[in-house]
């Protein structure tokens, strides 16, 4: 609830700041206006082309509550470009900046509001779709002092985005207040070859994920005692008792064969007194552990039959 209050107060101060000088509704383009209209429905943008602006102008200002030092609000803008065109503002990220007691700062509760496409943007995007070109986005690499050292750029083939509407997925990799990278793309798969498909409705459904670095698992440190202790407690999982057949199949099969052999011989014996030769069956019980092992066996055969024999010049 607090955040809503904050936003309301922002909008209020903004209106106080911007409007008293002029009483009438100006047709001047106010980009910053939209940045604070967070939950507001996307307003149609003025039709004038947005020219390149130097980053400091488009860069949003950081707002901070003086009384909430450990938990302050922060905003940074998303800019987009169609193919090789220049970047123009496309939306705003807002998040809470959490200052930890040990001095680290992290962002939480990231929210994103996307400006909807103007007609011109739609036209440009359609061109991208037709030429299977890139839709590029960028965000500042430092959210406290944009753009930081440089912008972090990401791009996607425009044909990956359209589904029902336009689906996009952001994964923002952060390190403190620095944005390292942004992975931008469609949330699902984008099979190749990419087919030309126009979106039914020109509204974005955006998913954003904020990722911080993971800790690596530590190298296992254990000493003999632990190892011995565990064994003493008998924690070793006993292999499940196998069935009779599983245990003794290698004895049973030859036995069966011998029995069968004997029976046949016994049956033949009365008819012919001739010396029926005993058949010899060879059974290899080979433990086939893994797939590799299997392949090895096959190869072994192949090479024996094929190249090796010629190699040794028999």
């Amino acid at each position: 609830m607090k955040s809503v209050k904050v936003i309301v107060s922002f909008v209020f101060t903004l209106s106080l700041l911007s409007f008293p000088s002029s009483g009438f509704q100006s047709d001047e383009l106010l980009v910053d206006d939209e940045e604070f209209g967070l939950e507001g429905s996307p307003q149609p943008r003025s039709p004038e082309p947005i020219l390149t602006r130097s980053p400091p102008v488009t860069a949003p200002t950081r707002k901070r509550h003086s009384d909430l030092d450990s938990d302050s609000k922060i905003q940074f803008s998303l800019e987009h470009a169609f193919g090789d065109s220049d970047f123009s503002p496309a939306g705003t990220f807002s998040a809470r900046l959490k200052t930890w007691s040990h001095g680290g700062q992290t962002l939480t509760k990231l929210r994103f509001s996307r400006n909807s496409f103007t007609d011109e943007d739609k036209e440009k995007f359609k061109n991208l779709l037709e030429s299977d070109d890139f839709y590029r986005i960028r965000i500042p690499s430092n959210v406290l002092s944009p753009p930081g050292r440089d912008f972090v750029i990401s791009s996607v083939k425009a044909r990956c985005l359209p589904r029902e509407g336009l689906d996009e997925h952001f994964v923002i990799h952060m390190e403190g207040v620095n944005v390292l990278a942004v992975n931008y793309g469609s949330p699902g798969c984008c099979p190749y070859p990419r087919n030309l498909k126009f979106p039914a409705k020109w509204s974005f459904s955006s998913h954003t994920v904020l990722k911080n670095s993971e800790q690596a698992p530590r190298a296992p440190v254990f000493s003999e005692e632990i190892l011995g202790g565990e064994n003493a407690e008998g924690e070793v999982v006993q292999p499940p008792e196998r069935s009779f057949w599983a245990k003794y199949w290698m004895y049973l099969i030859p036995l069966g064969l011998i029995v069968m052999n004997a029976i046949t011989q016994a049956m033949n014996m009365p008819e012919e007194q001739a010396s029926g030769q005993g058949q010899l069956y060879l059974v290899w019980p080979r433990p086939l552990n893994t797939e590799i092992n299997l392949c090895i066996k096959i190869l072994e055969l192949e090479y024996f039959v094929g190249s090796r024999i010629s190699e040794v010049k028999l």
């Binding site: 690499s141 430092n142 930081g148 390190e175 990419r194 440190v221 090479y303």
Partner: protein, 983 residues
């Protein structure tokens, strides 16, 4: 219970590595080892008794070695650290080699016969300066004294024990000492140098106690430049700062006088500034103007006169005193294919002591250095031998007009290696000289049979062993069934290509590349890459493969590039060209044209991509795949990784249809205050992966490996922690590793190791990466493994789906599909620090992998990849054990038998290269550094071939005997049957 556990562990370990080690008689069968020293910087001949047969050398690779003068073999060799550059060597007392190294701060004495270190002392001084080492014949209390000027201080050190007897500082702040001279038979030394670039300073110092006897200085407004030549013990020759005026500086009896002579007075048509060739020959010195070497005599009255102008490339050696007051020096001049070695007396230009003409291999280039040595011939007269260092870093000994021996020391500095197949065996190719005749073949087999039946006498055993080692099979110049015989093509720092035969390591051909030859246009050429250019499969019989050599004129990345194409069989340069653009990256593309030339992209410093070969066909192929080509760059100095796609045209002014622009698609900006890139690794392009599925037997499951060729492993550390290990506390150092898809720029995995530090060595193969770093908290090295599995394929496990065809196995994989990857990782302690790491690679990728670890002791250790399995647990279940999972331990074992270099060392190990043989079980391993080592390695034993000692003869005889026995018994049984019937 613990006992059984330990027993089980032991059993598993022992069963893992059964044949990694080898028997004594197997050494040298498949492996070879070659020792090198690098480009010789300084050579000192030993003139006493037994030492006469030796020469002591120091090299640019920081090696001190003594070589046998008869055969060129190494008696002993010491490789100093990479920052321990040798400044000078002298021989003292006839038995010690004294070396000054590490910018003049470490003085060591080595025992000449066996190379043991006798003493070491460190010298310190107030400032950094040139380091000079002078042997004197001054004796202080029975100690012979060596005088060293280093770090702005003059030291006198005893030869016996390395004790510093005295030292002396110089008060003039900007003094740049050029020479320390001891006039023969005197007890003082002159220290001469320039101060403030326009003052000549001379100090006369008592060598016994370091007392300053005299200090004189003289000003010369024109300033001094470069080197000086000593023409007598009290006279120097230098050049003024413009290089146009010769200065003869005489400091006789403490009086300094400078006499100027413009070079134009001596040489009429002198063009441009001159350079002095530093030497110390009595009354003679040499200068070089452009390519012309001019010898000038300084007469006793101080007059200068030109004695010779040599237009050919000339190298001058230092003086050698042969008898009292007589000095000789060596001179080598190029004349076409020959070189002329002349030994002259210093005071008599016309009288040549020796004049020899020697035919020289053109592939050795120019003579860079000459060292001469005299000996007494059988008839009592003086003979001379010369040690010459060539442009390709090779070392040759010339004596009596012939090359006595040569050493290919260029091979000590290999930059890049590639392999090439040998020609297919066919009628036209003569292999007769290595083929055995039938009798020998039979004899060999009889011997082998004897050996098998243990009937062989010791001589026979020796003969068998010799036969095995010298088997003509392995050194034939044709392809074999198993793919063991190949050519290793190596590019060296000197710009020379060598083709080595894998059978015995001999040099098949060598080529000094003209494109990497120093020229007017290209002052400092350096080789960069070596790529296979054309590998004919369809036309293997009538076309030769070729390699592409990429180089650059100068160390900066925007210097123009050079390329050349070399035939792999003949070693002829097919063509070469200087490029208009620079070369920052070479990307081999996975496409070949109709002549099977591989398409390559050369990325220049302005991020333009240039397509090679420049043919319309290549451009046609390229245009088809144009939208699927991406590339990336890592700017490790500012921590930005960028990905690019290509634009159809270069944005330069010149219309070039083989040039393409780049557009930035993605970027990853690492915060400069917390991360610094220290290592990047990718998968090998030609790696074969047998199967994408990995069976997890334990839970009857299948995992799919995430096999993408576009993965990049990046390791970063805290900028503070990029220095030496231990320079930071664990709290302020961390190591972050990334796995990045280089097409989309997606960070697939990121993980932080707190309290860890570089240097990081990593290897990437299939779906895993193994990296090595230092853990500051545990005070140990660690190795971690990350394995990546693809979850989006997990649906394919359903057999019914496969049958019905509702699977996505055949659909092309796009990087733009969001891949759901899972990673598994685990860390283990490891004892060694690493110099290099590689992984075995086999033809089909079926054989299990082993890591090849280049240890700090310059050996190569094989470590089964199963030890670095993230699924290892303390108590693996029965099923897991059957699968080959080893119980978890905290550190990786080092099994002494698994050193694949057995007892040899590959000094200065820099790289390990693995090449698959055609035989699936075997991989060829080539380790290079100062030394070269090659061997065959079978990670899971040679399961697909008969062993070396398999006796065919025994098998044949057994069969014959059996058949005979069958016949005999058959006849016997017939006879018996007949008798029975008659009964």
């Amino acid at each position: 219970m613990p006992i059984t556990h330990a027993f089980l562990l032991f059993f598993i370990f022992s069963s893992l590595q059964p044949t990694l080690s080898l028997y004594e008689d197997q050494v040298g069968l498949t492996d070879w080892h070659q020792q090198y020293i690098g480009k010789v910087k300084q050579a000192v001949f030993h003139t006493h008794k037994t030492g006469r047969k030796r020469v002591v050398v120091s090299t640019e690779d920081n090696v001190i070695a003594t070589l046998d003068l008869r055969r060129g073999e190494i008696f002993w060799r010491h490789v100093l650290g990479h920052n321990d550059v040798v400044d000078g060597i002298v021989i003292a007392l006839g038995k010690y080699v004294i070396t000054l190294s590490s910018e003049g701060s470490i003085l060591r004495a080595w025992n000449l016969p066996d190379g043991q270190m006798v003493w070491e002392s460190s010298l310190h001084g107030p400032k950094h300066s040139k380091s000079l080492l002078v042997m004197t014949n001054v004796v202080i209390e029975k100690d012979n004294v060596v005088i060293i000027f280093s770090n702005g201080r003059l030291h006198a050190v005893s030869c016996i024990d390395g004790e510093v007897l005295w030292n002396k500082d110089f008060e003039v702040e900007s003094l740049k000492v050029q020479k320390v001279i001891q006039p023969p038979g005197s007890n003082f030394v002159y220290v001469v140098g320039f101060a403030a670039s326009s003052h000549f300073e001379m100090y006369q110092i008592n060598a016994k106690n370091g007392e300053l006897l005299k200090h004189e200085s003289a000003a010369f407004s024109g300033g001094f430049s470069g080197e000086v030549s000593l023409v007598s013990s009290e006279t120097l020759v230098a050049l003024d700062s413009t290089g146009l005026i010769l200065l003869r500086i005489r400091f006789h009896k403490g009086n300094v006088s400078i006499q100027q002579t413009p070079i134009s007075n001596l040489v009429e048509d002198s063009l441009g500034p001159a350079v002095i060739i530093p030497s110390s020959i009595m009354e003679l010195f040499a200068i070089k103007i452009n390519a012309v070497t001019i010898f000038i005599r300084v007469t006793g009255t101080g007059k200068l006169e030109v004695v010779e102008k040599a237009n050919h490339e000339t190298a001058v050696g230092d003086a050698l005193s042969i008898s009292e007051g007589q000095q000789a020096f060596g001179l080598v001049q190029h004349a076409g294919r020959d070189i002329h070695l002349t030994v002259k007396l210093a005071h008599d230009w016309g009288g040549d002591l020796l004049k020899e003409s020697i035919k020289m291999d053109q592939q050795r280039g120019l003579v860079h250095k000459v060292f001469i040595n005299n000996y007494v011939r059988t008839d009592g007269s003086y003979g001379f031998r010369a040690l010459i260092v060539m442009e390709d870093h090779s070392l040759l000994l010339l004596q009596q007009g012939a090359i006595v021996w040569s050493r290919e020391d260029g091979l000590a500095s290999i930059i890049d290696v590639t392999t090439s197949e040998l020609p297919v065996e066919r009628a036209g190719v003569s292999v007769a000289k290595v083929e055995l005749n039938l009798f020998e073949w039979l004899k060999g087999h009889m011997l082998k049979l004897k050996g098998t039946l243990m009937l062989a006498s010791p001589e026979d055993i020796a003969a068998i062993q010799y036969m095995r080692l010298k088997s003509s099979e392995k050194s034939k110049m044709t392809r074999d069934h198993n793919g063991f015989r190949k050519l290793l093509i190596a590019l060296t720092r000197a710009g020379k290509l060598f083709a080595l035969h894998t059978g015995d390591g001999r040099i098949v051909w060598s080529l000094l590349l003209q494109s990497l030859h120093k020229s007017e246009a290209c002052q400092h050429p350096i080789g960069l890459n070596l790529c296979p250019w054309q590998v004919p499969h369809h036309h293997a019989l009538d076309e030769n493969p070729s390699v592409l050599v990429v180089g650059r004129c100068g160390p900066s990345s925007d210097a123009p590039g050079v390329i050349s194409f070399v035939d792999s069989y003949t070693g002829k340069e097919l063509s070469s060209s200087s490029l208009v653009h620079s070369v920052a990256q070479v990307i081999p593309l996975p496409y070949t044209d109709s002549t099977e030339q591989r398409l390559h992209l050369l990325i220049d410093a302005d991020k333009h991509a240039h397509l090679y070969p420049k043919t319309p066909e290549a451009i046609g192929i390229f245009q088809r795949e144009f939208s699927n080509i991406y590339w990336y760059s890592v700017e490790d100095d500012n921590g930005i990784i960028k990905g690019y796609a290509l634009k159809s045209k270069c944005d330069g002014t010149v219309a070039d249809k083989f040039c393409f622009g780049s557009r930035e698609l993605w970027s990853i900006v690492l915060p400069s205050e917390s991360e610094k890139i220290i290592a990047t690794v990718t998968r090998k392009l030609n790696e074969a992966v047998h199967t994408q599925a990995k069976l997890i037997a334990a839970d009857q499951d299948v995992m799919y490996k995430y096999i993408s060729r576009n993965l990049l492993f990046v390791a970063t550390v805290a900028p503070k922690a990029s220095g030496e290990i231990g320079s930071v506390t664990p709290e302020e150092s961390w190591l972050v590793v990334y796995l990045i898809d280089t097409v989309t720029g997606f960070v697939l995995h990121r993980v932080t190791h707190h309290g860890s530090q570089g240097p990081v060595e990593a290897v990437f193969s299939e779906n895993w990466v193994v990296y090595h770093y230092f853990n500051l908290r545990a005070h140990r090295y660690e190795m971690s493994v990350i394995e990546i599995y693809d979850q989006s394929w997990a649906d394919n496990k359903d057999v019914w789906k496969l049958v019905v065809g509702k699977h996505n196995l055949t659909s092309p994989i796009s990087s733009y599909s969001r891949s759901e990857v899972v990673t598994k990782s685990q860390s283990y302690f490891f004892t060694h620090s690493l110099k290099a790491i590689a992984v075995t690679s086999t033809a089909k990728g079926i054989t299990s992998k082993q890591l090849l670890i280049g240890t700090i002791g310059d050996q190569v250790l094989a470590l089964d990849k199963r030890f670095l399995d993230p699924r290892r647990s303390v108590n693996p279940t029965q099923a897991e054990r059957e699968e080959g999972i080893i119980p978890l331990t905290d550190s990786l074992p080092i099994i002494p038998q698994s050193y694949i270099t057995h007892n040899l060392r590959v000094e200065g190990l820099r790289g390990i290269i693995t090449v698959p043989a055609k035989l699936e079980s075997t991989t060829l391993v080539f380790a290079h550094g100062l030394d070269l080592f090659f061997t065959h390695f079978a990670p899971s034993r040679t399961y697909d071939s008969l062993t070396e000692d398999f006796s065919c003869a025994l098998l044949l005889i057994t069969i014959v005997v059996l058949v005979a026995a069958i016949f005999v018994t058959w006849v016997l049984s017939q006879r018996k049957e007949l008798q029975d019937k008659w009964r």
